[in-house]
Amino acid sequence: MTNSALRFFMTGLMLSMLAACSTTPYQPSQPPVDDRSSEPTLPQPPETPAYPPVEDAPAEQPRSAQPAPSPQVQTPIKQSPAVVALLDKAEQARVSGDLRSAQNNLQRAQRIAPRDPKVYYSLAQTHMSLEDYDLAEQVALKGVSLSSGNNVLLKRFWQLLTEIRLRAGDVSGAEVAKLRAQKY
């Protein structure tokens, strides 16, 4: 009896240890992500890497331990004071009707923060005011592509697209955009 109790206890203990090793806490807000925190088994990059003179034929290279691409969580954009300053300047210029200056400031902002959807939102607005509806639409679509996961922004972008398309005379396109906006 004691023997089988011990066996039962030991099995239970080992199983629980294994289970602890093999499960990760469930995080509902994130898609499953491969563990990217572990160090790759490739040798660490030396300061001045010495390359082999000729690398192996491409097809025959061993599979590296570098983690393969996996679903990525969009890191939220942290706006730098520089971008905030440029967006402010651009907004002032746009409101006062100096659209070229607004455009210049927004392109400066874009170079600093090319993944910040807000930059594209203002830039699309500016092109709309310049009556360049084609470019305004494309810039807004670029903003959409950078806003995935942010429903508030997506709604605003599709509302802007509705307006751009209406002004451009694209009634059916505006209708589509309006429906997209309502989705968020």
């Binding site: 097809a59 392109q107 670029k142």
Partner: protein
Amino acid sequence: MAQKKAPSKKRTRSKNSSPRRKKQTGFISRSSLLKIAFTLLVLLGLLTLFLDVQIRSQFEGKRWAVPAKVYARPLELYAGAPVSLSDLKIELKGLGYQFRSKAAQPGQAAFSSSKAIIATRGFRFSDGMEPARKLILDFNAEGVTRLRDYQGQDVPLVRLEPVLIGGIYPLNNEDRDLIQLKDAPPMLSEALIAIEDRDFYQHHGISPKGIARAMVANIKAGSFVQGGSTLTQQLIKNFYLTSDRSLVRKLLEIPMALLLELHYDKDDILEAYLNEVYLGQDGARAIHGFGLGAHYFFAQPLQELKLHQLALLAGLVKGPSYYDPRRHPERAKNRRNLVLKVLYEQDKITQQQYQQARNASLDVVEKGTLLKEAYPAFLDLVKRQLRRDYRDEDLNSEGLRVYTSLDPITQSHAESSLKSTITSLQQHHGSKLKSLQGSMVVTDPQTGEVLAVIGDKNTRYKGFNRALDSVRPIGSLVKPAVYLTALEQGKTLASMVDDSSFTLTLPNGQTWKPKNFSKQSHEDVLLIDALAHSYNIATVRLGMEAGLDEVINTLNRLGIKRKLDAYPSLLLGAQGLSPLEVATMYQTIAANGFQTPARAIRTVTDSHGEALSSYPFQLRQTIDADDVYLIQTAMQEVTHSGTAASIYSSLPSHINTAGKTGTTDDQRDSWFAGFSNNRLAVVWLGQDDNSPLPFTGSGGALRVWKNFMRSQPLDSFEAPLPDDIKWLWIDTQTGLLSAQECEHSRQLPFISGTEPVEMSECVTQPGQQSNPVTRSLDWIKDWFQ
């Protein structure tokens, strides 16, 4: 005027007749003499009038053809800017800043290990003035952490003045930077007048005193050591007359000098002189004017020059080639010291100033310290883009300012990566690689701006621009377009692709048997792996199934404008493209399906800074966001486990990249094209005589790419996840749905509706699963039983 002209014709005729009469009679009457004298007088008057018109029209009109100035992008400084201390030094060196222990004057900088203090010069941009100011920058390993003004107030953003990278010159190749007299250091005029024409402010164009003084000096010396020409005469000579030393020219010089002095005041004449004077030769480019001379010899603006430098410039006027301080430093120094001596003797400087300046070194920088004309390949691209909108004569004479996207820091790293890799390959392979060449294009894939272009391993060589004009087969670089076409037609990354060998019969009856690089064929492989490992046979099968015209359509949507022929060999990259075209193509993928033309120019302004045209950020979505997400994933597999996996021996693992290697038949071309979020680089290596290389795309071009990318402030590539994409676990051997715990399982993205519906055995028959965890558990269970 008109009245005067009519009689002149008559008199001219009478002038012609008078010598005849002279011959006939041998006697000239008094009245004839008078007539002749009168005629000559009128003629002289007319000539004077003619010269007067000439002088005034040229002096008051546009005096010089001012070449367009081409500028690099201005460096943006702000807290968080990914600019290291050493990068800042590269930029400031290109701007000719003096590195001192204290930054006291504009154009000076002081550094400590993690801090920089710079006194900027300020610059008038087309969208506003950036004032000159003193700034304190703090750095860490990532870049700038804090930016303050000298009062300690945080400053959000500052633009440094842009580096001047080139000009567009008129046919005579004269280059100059116009200056105004009020902006020239007073000591420059003092020195010039003291050594060349000390009576300048007293005489009326010619100086008998000066001529006498020169004659005495020449007799004393026994040779020609001093000329008697005034500054006005010298200006006339350079400005209006040809350079031949004819008597007519000499005779014209004097009345013209007198006339010029009659119309204009001394300061106007002096200002024209300062801008006209010839100071040296840089290859085909003639250096004119002290404004440009200061940059050419000292890499500094004229206003920042010290006494000894100004004296040298003034001394050079007499013989720019004879006193060339780079070729004849001793001569130049003697000449400079002579100028200083004269200044001292005329009480223009104190003895202390004299001694100090005399003892100073020449301070002339090496040729090429400034970055003007340093980037011929990039400048070539700029000129081609400009010529679409501007006439040549506007570009080389109107003083236009062209603001470009060139990043001198990025360009500098690209150049050293290409050069060092080529050198090390040549050292290793010896004479086989004697004529190894390379080219490179770097862009910011999000904005489409071109940051760096290299057209030759000798990066300053103004010859064949390989980045734009070398059209070489792109090999496997074409494959992402083939796979993208297949994905658009409903294939998934988990589709099984046949990589077994086959023979294709072409319409003309010929047969073609594509082979893999390794000469081995494979059974069914996952589509994503066929791209990652660059399998040729699988690619040809996929491409033929998708349709050659469809693949060409995809290439067009990716930005290739060239006419492409629908031959099957297109699928393996037999088509030639330039590195710039490849960059355009990959940019569309990097920018999530938005085609963004490669832009090198931001704005063009007139000489007053008024914007003439701007080249805004343009884009057009040509690839669906879902499809581009899939191909981006596959191209990340290339750099993680495929043919470019060696990247991560150089780059940190948290920086995600994507790209593709390319090697052409017989290894004649070695390509790599790849990107992070903020940098896209295309590298080509090959030999101009088209001979084979002893390495592949990954052995050559990829090495340049890695070296370059390692030097860059990289932003990890993160593809935005479209709404319609879901990641699922699939079985790598069958492409069927699987689960995380199953063996051979792997996560891949699918567009909703295209995911496999069938389950792998591991899921349908869990009893037969061979999951390692379950296997271990079984083993433990057995042990305890």
